[in-house]
Each structure stands twice: as C-alpha cells, then as structure tokens.
C-alpha cells in the first residue's frame, strides 16, 4: 500500500471529478422529430382545421343571415298586420259606424230632449286623519322563524297623511 499525502488525495479527487465531468452524457430521445414530412403533416392539419373553422363560421353566418331574413319577414308581416288592425280600428271609430251600431244594434235613439242641470259642488269638510298605528317590530328569532317557515312580509313607506289637505 502506498501512502498518499493529503495533497495527493485531493489532487486525485479533483482529477476524478474532471474526468467524470468530461465523460459524454448519453443524448435524450426527442419527443417529436420535426422533419420535412412532419412539417407538411402539421401544415395540412392546420389548414384543415382552419378550413373547417372557416366553413363552420361561414355556415353559422349564413344561418344567422337566414334567421335574420326570416325575422325581418316576420317583422314586416307583423307591421302589415298592425297597419291593417289600425285601419280597422279607425274604421270602427268612424262616427258613421258608431251611429249605425248605436242605433241598429244597441237600440239607441238620437237625443231629442235634454236639460242642463245646475249642480252646485257641496262644500268639502276637513276630515280628521285617522292615527297611523305603530307597526310591531319583530325580534331576531321571530324573523328567523318566519324566514324558515317562508312567511313573507310586505313593507310600505309610511305616508304622513297630515300633509294632505282634505277640502278647503
């Protein structure tokens, strides 16, 4: 056994580490090998996808266009119908039509005798406003209980009735 000094051991260790570092690492296997064929395939797939998307989009737009046309047609038809109905209303509002209906269907007769009656407006008294009852406040537990049972409550703004004058 040879005896190594401390310096020699350290030198040997450094050499081993350098040798280990210099030793070539086995190359890792790539996940995708990009060669010419792959590029073509990717391009083809991309083009196909874009094409499909374009077709879908075009189809959707066309469909929307047809929907829009259909809705416009429906709106036009509804507008026409409204016009016809408004015309019918106007025709029935015609005083001649009203008179015909009144006399022939409802048995009314033209006014022959009438009198103007002079009515005097009775004086309005100042009415006393009934006192507004204080609403009872619920406890927290009562409110929880009502909420659990589904009991609803309605609140209204309390109106100060005294601000309104009744009569002169």
């Amino acid at each position: 056994m040879s005896t190594l000094t401390h310096g020699q051991r350290a030198q040997a260790a450094r050499r081993e580490r350098e040798q280990a570092r210099a030793q070539p690492v086995a190359p890792k296997r790539p996940y995708i090998i990009i060669n010419g064929a792959t590029m073509v395939a990717i391009a083809a797939i991309a083009l196909t996808l874009i094409g499909i998307l374009y077709l879908v989009q075009t189809s959707q737009v066309a469909q929307l266009g047809y929907d829009l046309s259909r809705l416009q047609t429906q709106r036009d038809a509804a507008t026409l119908e409204i016009s016809e109905l408004e015309y019918e209303i106007a025709r029935y509002e015609s005083l001649q039509t009203v008179e015909e209906v009144a006399t022939s269907q409802l048995g009314m007769t033209p006014l022959s005798n009438y009198a103007f009656i002079d009515l005097r407006m009775p004086e309005q008294r100042n009415l006393t406003v009934p006192p507004v009852a204080e609403s009872e406040s619920q406890t927290f537990f009562e409110r929880v209980f009502d909420a659990v049972l589904g009991v609803g409550s309605a609140e209204s703004e309390r109106v100060d009735m005294t601000q309104y004058t009744l009569g002169e």
């Binding site: 416009q72 026409l80 016809e84 408004e86 106007a90 015609s94 005083l95 006014l111 009198a115 002079d118």
Partner: protein, 571 residues
Amino acid sequence: MDAVNDIPRSRIIILLVAFILFSMAVGYRVFSFQIVHGLDLTEQAQQFRFREDVVPAERGDILDRRGRKLATNVPADRISVIVHQLDDPGDTARELAQIINRDEGEILEAISHPDREWVVLQRRLSPEASQQIKSLDMDGIVLDPEPRRTYPMGNFASQVLGFVNFDYEGSYGVEGAYHSLIAGEPGHLIGERDGAGNVIALGHSTWDPAQDGADLVLSIDSSVQRIVEEVLRETIEDMDAAGGTIIVQNPNTGAILGMASHPGYDPNEFNQVQDAQLFGNPAISNVYEPGSTMKALVMAIGLETGAVAADTVHPGGPYRELPGGERVYNATLMDFGPESMTEVLVHSSNVGAMYVAEQLGEDDLYRGLTAFGFGDQTGIDLSGEESGLFPLPGDPNWYLTNLYTNSFGQGMAVTPLQLINAISAVGNGGQLLTPYLVEEIRHPDGKVEQTEPEVIRDVISPETAQAVNQMMTTTVDSAQRVYGVPGYQIAAKTGTAQIPGIDGGYEPGATIGSIVGFGPSDDPQFSVIVKIDRPQESQWGERAAGPAFQEIFEELFLLYGIPPSDPDQVR
C-alpha cells in the same frame, strides 16, 4: 401498340382538328367573355349583385283634434304578370277579369303583347281580391305589397283632406298642401344579393334609411265635422238646393273646427270622380256675392270710424237714388221708415246700409273692408285659395255705384272663409286672425310643432266689436223662432244674394241664401257660416240657411257642454 398503329392516321387528324376547333370555340368564348365583353359583364354582375332599391318612407297619418284617424296607410297588393310563365293567357285573363273587374279582352291583350315580359294589371287591390288571386295559385302571377292611402271614414271631410294619387303624391286639401312634410324622404338600400335577388342579410350593404313623414293633427273636430256634414246634407235635400258650404271656426284662435261643402267625393275612390271640380274646396275657392251678411261689417266700420253711432237714425224710405239716377230698393220694396243703426241690421235694410256707406265715404269704407281681409287671401294652410273679386276705387271695373251696392254685399265676391274670418274678428273683440287647419305637426323624431294663433291685425276696437255683437244679437232675437237657439244668445246676420249671370245682369229667381254669426254672444266660442246655393224651397237666407245655422249651434252647445244663459227658455 399494334392496335394503336392500326388506327388510320386520317381519323387521328380529324379528331385533332375537331379538338382544336372545339378548343378554339371555347377559347373564343372565354376571350369574348373576359376581354371583349369583360367590363360590361362585370358591371352587369355588379349591378345584379349590388342592386339599389328605393326604400319608401311611410306617409304620416292625419288625425282630427280628438285623435281619430282621418287618413292612414294600409298595405295593398299590386298584381303583375310574368308573361312567359303563363300556362294559358286566355284562361288567366278570364279568371282575373272577374276578380279585378276589368274587361277580359283588355287583360288578354295586355298579357299577350309580344314585346312585353312583365305587365302590371292592377294596383291597390282590395284584400278580398288579393285573397282570391292567391287562392288561384296560378303560375306567372305576382302579388307585390305596396302602401295604399286610405280614409277610414270614407267621404268624410274629403275636400279638407284631399287625396293621394297613384304616384303617392298628395293632391288637393291638406294632403296636397302638406305633401312634402307628410310624405317623408325615401331611403336607399344598396345590398349584396343572392341569385334570387334577395338581399343577403349579413352581406355588404349600404343603408340610407328612409325618413318617415310627420303626422298631422288637424283642428277639425270630427264630431263637429259630422254635425256639419249631416246638417248640410239634410238642408240641401230640404231646400232642394244645388249645393252649399258650412264652416265652423273658433273665433278666438282662427282654428277651423268643421268645413264641409256639398257635393263631395270619397277620396278612397278618387279615380271614380268624373268632375275634377269636385276635388276643389268651395269653402276657400268658390266666390259669391255675400249679400246682406256684409251689412254687419259695414256697420262695424261705420261705428269704428265714427261715421255713425248705434243710435244714429237715418231717414229711411223704400229706395235710395244713386248719383247716376239709378234707384236701389230694399228687399221686397219695404219702407221701414226712420231706422236706428240696430234696426238697419234687424230689418236688413239696403237703404240703411247705403246710408252708412255714404257717411263713410270711399276711403274709410274700402280701408275698413280691406282691413277685414276682403280682396286678399286669408292665409289658411291650404292651396287653391281665392282672394275674391273686390274692385277698389281707381280700378277699371269700379264705379261709384259700387260704393252703395258693396254696402249690402253686391258688386263684390268673397269666399265663405273670408266672410266667416271677418265675422270672427267681430266675435273675438276686433282681431283678424289667420285661419288654420293643422294644429299640430308630430315629427317622427318626437318633435312636436304646435300652431299658435296668428293675429293679422286689429281691425276694430273691442268697444266697436261689442256694439256690433249687440246689434247682431238683437237681430237674432227678433227672429228667434227661425234661427235663434232658445236659452242662448247668438249674434248673426242673414243674407240673400242674387247670382250674377253671363250677360252681366243677375239670374232671375236664383239666389244664394246664407247666414253668418257667432255664439254665445257674451263669450263667443264658435263662428258659423251656412251658405246654400240656389235653394228652391225658399230663396231667402233666413229660411234657406237659418234652420241649419240653428241646428248646428244647438248641437255645438250640447257637444261642448256650454250651458244656456237662460235655462228657462230651453225647449
């Protein structure tokens, strides 16, 4: 290889030549399409693909002051024929003739014309006719909707409204006068189209939207209009008259509440009217000699200028001799004796009116009558208004006689509207107002224009107006049973005017009976003029027009809830 070698060479050459010829033909067509006609065809394709359509604006409605529609639009079909698609033109003509009420031969001729590909057979079909045609389900028949102007109340207020012709242009009346406002502005759509010519909803398009027309709210009250039309129709029947006119005006604003003339027409069927004169509005375009109705205005001028006072008494007599020696008599040659100015109106004295004119003199009389608006249009918002025939001193057709005859409404001609507008000035305290029919314009953007009453000028003072009001009220009170309304005080003046003939004189026995006035006297709310042309039952205004005047006021007071001043007198 042997088989190929067996094919005769000539056959190959023939095939080659045929192929070359075919290629040349195709090449020629390609060259022709692309190079020779390329630009034209491109343009045609663009035109087809991006065709411009006019988008019609919706015409505004016309409403009365109560909001009832007097004119509106409804869709109506137009029937057209694509000639080359017809299976049997004869059969088509026969089927359609019954539905659209046209002659079968006429239709057959139209759809058999060799130069025509597309024929419009009828426009504005009725809904029933459209339905019948649809049920036929014939090839080559096309129904296109187009707007149709309709008047839901038929011949109601036809001369006020006018009509819309086949080109959708307003003619006569409010439709004509306000056409530019209610027609709107058509829009334009340049859109990308599919092979069938339909606009591609999401394609490229340029859209210039149509501006719809404004709605008009008239001052006409359809209830008043109905009263006026009914009373006029009954009066013309009762009096066996040739025609007539009634106007109801609010004297405080100038608004026309009712305006009717007989005969009228149905604007829905304007194309059936034979006499185009019916389209005019006689209330503003027909002039007549107003007769004694003018005396109230002459009296107002006399009082205003101080030429006479209410208690002035003139000597009276059955006639007055004019400077030329001609004698002008009272009606029925009556001698009323000395008359106060009030009695001049009560008796409708020609001699008294001539006295006032003489006291006034030319300058004051004609200045006053001109101030009342005679000789000039009233300015109503309708087209076709006449200004009347009103010769003034200095005009070639004015003679001194006119000074006297004009005082009782002869030798001059006015429109009914001029006269009622002048009388309204007396009723409202002396202001001449511009009459109007359109009270409100509702623009499609929500903006609303209100018509404000417009004072043309102060004609007489309130005191003079009150004095004349009192005189006219006394006139009505003296003839209460004929044209007064029991329980109410009304101011009015009747008139019976002769009708000028062709030879320069007057037609014997032919008159125009009229009455004009306002009420209630203490707070005038309505002015009314009734004019009856050539009444046969009675030639006098009091009898021919008075009952109609009375009935209209009774109905107006009832309609507007105006209580009587003397309830005990109400029958």
